[in-house]
């Protein structure tokens, strides 16, 4: 009779999907409190992680830790392997608690500055 090996657990890999249903982390909420966040909005932690704020989940702490340096919403989602929708709800919680600052991309509302576009072209050529 074959002995139990770690190999028996191979089915539980990334392809098996999340062990926790995505929106369980948000208690079923699908929209953040307050306004929504652009995918390329930047998040910065206001306080170091480790603060004991009641009601925070491990995912909240992970966001605060990852956002010590400015990081975009989409990169945060990818880094922490959470869906965009879930990240947005959790960011809404953290914003309400005053633990993060959010910076929306300035370009989202107005036509792009021609000087910025020139800088992009020059930057791309120089790469």
């Amino acid at each position: 009779m074959p002995a139990d090996t770690p190999g028996d657990l191979h089915w539980l890999d990334h392809d098996a999907g999340p062990v926790v249903r995505p929106y369980a982390m948000t208690q079923g909420r699908v929209a953040p409190s307050g306004s929504d966040f652009d995918l390329v909005a930047f998040v910065v932690a206001v306080v170091p992680d480790g603060l004991s704020v009641p009601g925070l989940q491990p995912e909240h702490h992970a966001i605060v830790a990852a956002a010590w340096e400015p990081i975009s919403v989409v990169e945060l989602a990818s880094t922490l392997d959470l869906s965009i929708g879930v990240i947005r709800v959790l960011l809404g919680d953290l914003r309400s608690a005053g633990l993060i600052s959010l910076y929306e991309p300035p370009a989202a509302a107005q036509p792009h500055d021609v000087d910025v576009l020139k800088a992009v072209v020059n930057g791309l050529r120089a790469l």
Binding site: P22, Y23, V30, D38, L39, V40, F42, V44, P48, E69, P70, S72, V74, E75, A77, S78, S83, I84, G85, V86, Y103, P105, P106, A107, A108, A109, P111, H112, V114, V116, L117, K118, A119, V120, V121, G123, L124, R125, L127
Partner: protein
């Protein structure tokens, strides 16, 4: 610890400006490849879990299923410390059009990748960006073995507005991808200038 924080709040860690570029095109046109070849970071994927959205999977017979997952590719190019480009490969399936609306919000412009063997696959993307006046270029991904067409032929076949650039490219090649992006940003600049002139004239 306080001194570190006051440094940060004093502006030592600046918030970059991020610009979005969409990479669109039909299934298999090379969107993921192009994002990967020009991105400075390993191309990343993120998921959007959709809940009870119209046009999501047909639920008849599987009424218990309430979510569906879309994967988006994205990559990043740092232009300067203060300026970053984000590239988003758009989800290919038509039923995820509403995600395009979010992605194209405030976007600098778009690249529509075309495969001349299946040119019709990029019609929806061309229509989408034309109707929303989002600057775009058509990049013809020159697959090995694909019959070579000139940029003029493709422009005519797609019935593009006059002035919309058509660029031949190799989505696997970083320099080629960079050239496509340069053409797009230059074109976006020309369009914005023209609009500014229109609005004052």
């Amino acid at each position: 610890m306080d001194s570190v924080r006051s440094d940060r709040n004093g502006g030592s860690s600046r918030i970059p400006t991020a610009l979005k570029i969409l990479i669109a095109g039909g299934f298999g046109a090379g969107k993921t490849t192009m994002v990967g070849s020009v991105s400075e970071i390993r191309p990343l994927q993120t998921e959007e879990v959709l809940t009870g959205v119209d046009g999501a999977d047909d639920l008849s017979g599987v009424e218990g299923k309430t979510t569906t997952t879309v994967t988006m590719d994205f990559g990043r190019i740092t232009i300067t410390e203060d300026l970053q480009l984000y590239l988003f490969g758009t989800p290919g399936q038509d039923r995820f059009w509403f995600l395009w609306d979010e992605l194209s919000q405030g976007a600098l412009g778009a690249v529509v990748l075309a495969d001349t063997r299946r040119l019709e696959d990029c019609f929806p993307a061309v229509d989408y960006f034309e109707h929303r006046h989002i600057p775009f270029v058509v990049a013809v991904n020159c697959f090995a073995g694909a019959r070579a067409y000139g940029a003029q032929d493709v422009s005519r076949a797609l019935d593009l507005d006059q002035g919309t650039p058509v660029v031949l490219c190799d989505a696997r090649d970083r320099d080629s991808g960079k050239e496509v992006l340069i053409r797009l940003v230059e074109y976006a600049g020309r369009m914005h200038t023209a609009r500014l002139l229109d609005s004052v004239g």
